[in-house]
């Protein structure tokens, strides 16, 4: 270890380092030695002291005006730096604005895309609905126009005398429809509900909304010797028909 320090001190690395003439690797090595070994540190301290003394011996009074020249150059340089900084600030603001507007437009584009998808879906749904409705109308037309279609007039019993309905049944096509023409008004907490008994099963056909369903043909499930009922049920419908409240029935 001692030898290592001796060899180091005998080389001129420390002197070179003192004068700032070492390479990056040499600098790292010297700085490591200075930190690690007190002998080297002491030697370096002495070298620094002596360099300062020796340099001071060569001092020459500076010429007048040199200090002013130095300050002039330093201020000019600082001004330049400040300009660069101002430019940098302006550039960052511009970049920020650009980023902001880019995000805004990107966001808008995404929204428009979403909207576009939504509109397309709606169009497709409408198309499907339209096809479905057209199909329904065609079926209705077939049933109504078919010579084999039987037409049944339905009248309400004593509980609803004004009830008028027409049922159309085609046994060949196995299709049946009902058109409720008139329904007597009910208290607000009651409604009409349709049922069909097909092959021994009671099927709930839903609530008849008197006004809107007036001109509509409601499909009925087809079955041999089926019976359809209209009952008065509490508002909102019932899972099973209330037999004593039957106002009309159609056998077909």
């Amino acid at each position: 270890m001692k030898d290592k320090i001796k060899i180091f001190l005998e080389s001129d690395l420390l002197e070179k380092y003192l004068l700032g003439a070492t390479s990056a690797i040499e600098t790292a090595r010297v700085e490591r030695y200075i930190v690690m070994y007190p002998e080297v540190r002491k030697q370096f301290e002495e070298l620094q002291e002596n360099l300062e003394i020796y340099a001071k011996m060569h001092a020459i009074p500076t010429p007048d005006g040199l200090k002013a020249k130095i300050f002039h150059r330093i201020r000019k340089q600082d001004l330049g730096r400040r300009k660069v900084r101002r430019f940098a600030i302006a550039a960052s603001i511009a970049a920020f604005l650009f980023a902001g507007s880019s995000y805004f437009f990107w966001n808008q584009n995404m929204n428009l895309q979403d909207e576009n998808t939504m509109v397309n879906n709606r169009i497709q749904n409408l198309e499907a609905d339209m096809k479905q409705q057209l199909e329904d109308v065609r079926n209705q037309f077939i049933v109504l126009n078919n010579p084999q279609t039987k037409k049944y007039l339905v009248n309400g019993n004593e509980k609803a005398r004004e009830l008028k309905a027409v049922a159309y049944v085609n046994p060949v096509k196995k299709l049946s429809y009902i058109n409720v023409r008139n329904l007597p008004n009910l208290p607000e907490d009651q409604c009409y509900q349709m049922w069909a008994e097909v092959n021994g099963d009671m099927v709930n056909l839903g609530i008849i909304k008197s006004i809107e369903d007036k001109d509509k043909l409601l499909p009925l499930p087809y079955g041999k010797n089926a019976i359809s009922y209209i009952t008065i049920e509490p508002m909102g419908g019932n899972p099973s028909p209330t037999v004593q409240n039957i106002v009309a029935n159609i056998s077909y």
């Binding site: 002197e15 700032g20 003439a21 002596n50 360099l51 020459i60 009074p61 200090k67 020249k69 130095i70």
Partner: protein
């Protein structure tokens, strides 16, 4: 002898001053440059002149160096080197670069002749520099040549040995003895100054 000269020469005072200047540099206060110039300007100008051997060039070197000092003030690390060492490195390297770029005097023989430099600059020397100049004369010429080659001409010990035709071992010992002599001379001057002031 102005009282300030003694104050700055005193090691404790110069340490305080150094600390103050370093703080100002780190704050990027222009006062740092003013203080540096007032306390090290003459020495740095002398070093620059010693390397480039031309007053105009030396002034350019000092100007450029101070701009570098101001620009690089945040790179100075007081734990690694004394302030003067850092300043010396900047002025020396700037001066050597300047000399290389101008290439006015490439003949190293002339540069190594120490006495010429002082004959050139002697009129400019103020009385307060006279005693340090005397001190310089106290150092034997053979040591001076070695110190100058290493400190001002940017030579390595090997290069100095080749250039001056002195064995490497002698260069090493002259450098070490020369530096020791410096310490001795400086020490005695300081003692003398203290005695003078106390009287």
């Amino acid at each position: 002898m102005p009282p300030g000269y003694f104050l700055i020469s005193h090691p404790a005072m110069s340490i305080l001053l150094e600390k103050h200047i370093v703080e100002l540099l780190q704050e990027r206060n222009e006062k740092a440059i003013s203080l540096l110039y007032d306390h090290y300007g003459d020495t740095l100008y002398g070093v620059a002149f010693k390397v480039v051997r031309d007053e105009e060039l030396a002034q350019d070197v000092v100007q450029e160096s101070f701009v570098k000092i101001w620009k690089k003030s945040d790179t100075y690390d007081p734990s690694k080197a004394k302030l003067f060492t850092w300043l010396f490195r900047i002025i020396r390297n700037t001066a050597i670069d300047k000399l290389r770029s101008v290439q006015t005097k490439s003949d190293k023989e002339i540069q190594l002749d120490v006495s010429n430099v002082y004959n050139l600059g002697i009129d400019a020397i103020r009385p307060e520099f006279m005693d340090v100049r005397e001190n310089l004369e106290k150092i034997e010429h053979k040591y001076q040549v070695v110190l100058d080659a290493l400190f001002f001409q940017g030579m390595t010990q090997q290069e100095a040995s080749d250039e001056l035709d002195i064995p490497l071992g002698t260069i090493k010992s002259r450098l070490k003895i020369g530096l020791r002599e410096l310490g001795k001379i400086y020490g005695s001057t300081l003692m003398m100054l203290i005695l003078l002031i106390l009287k």
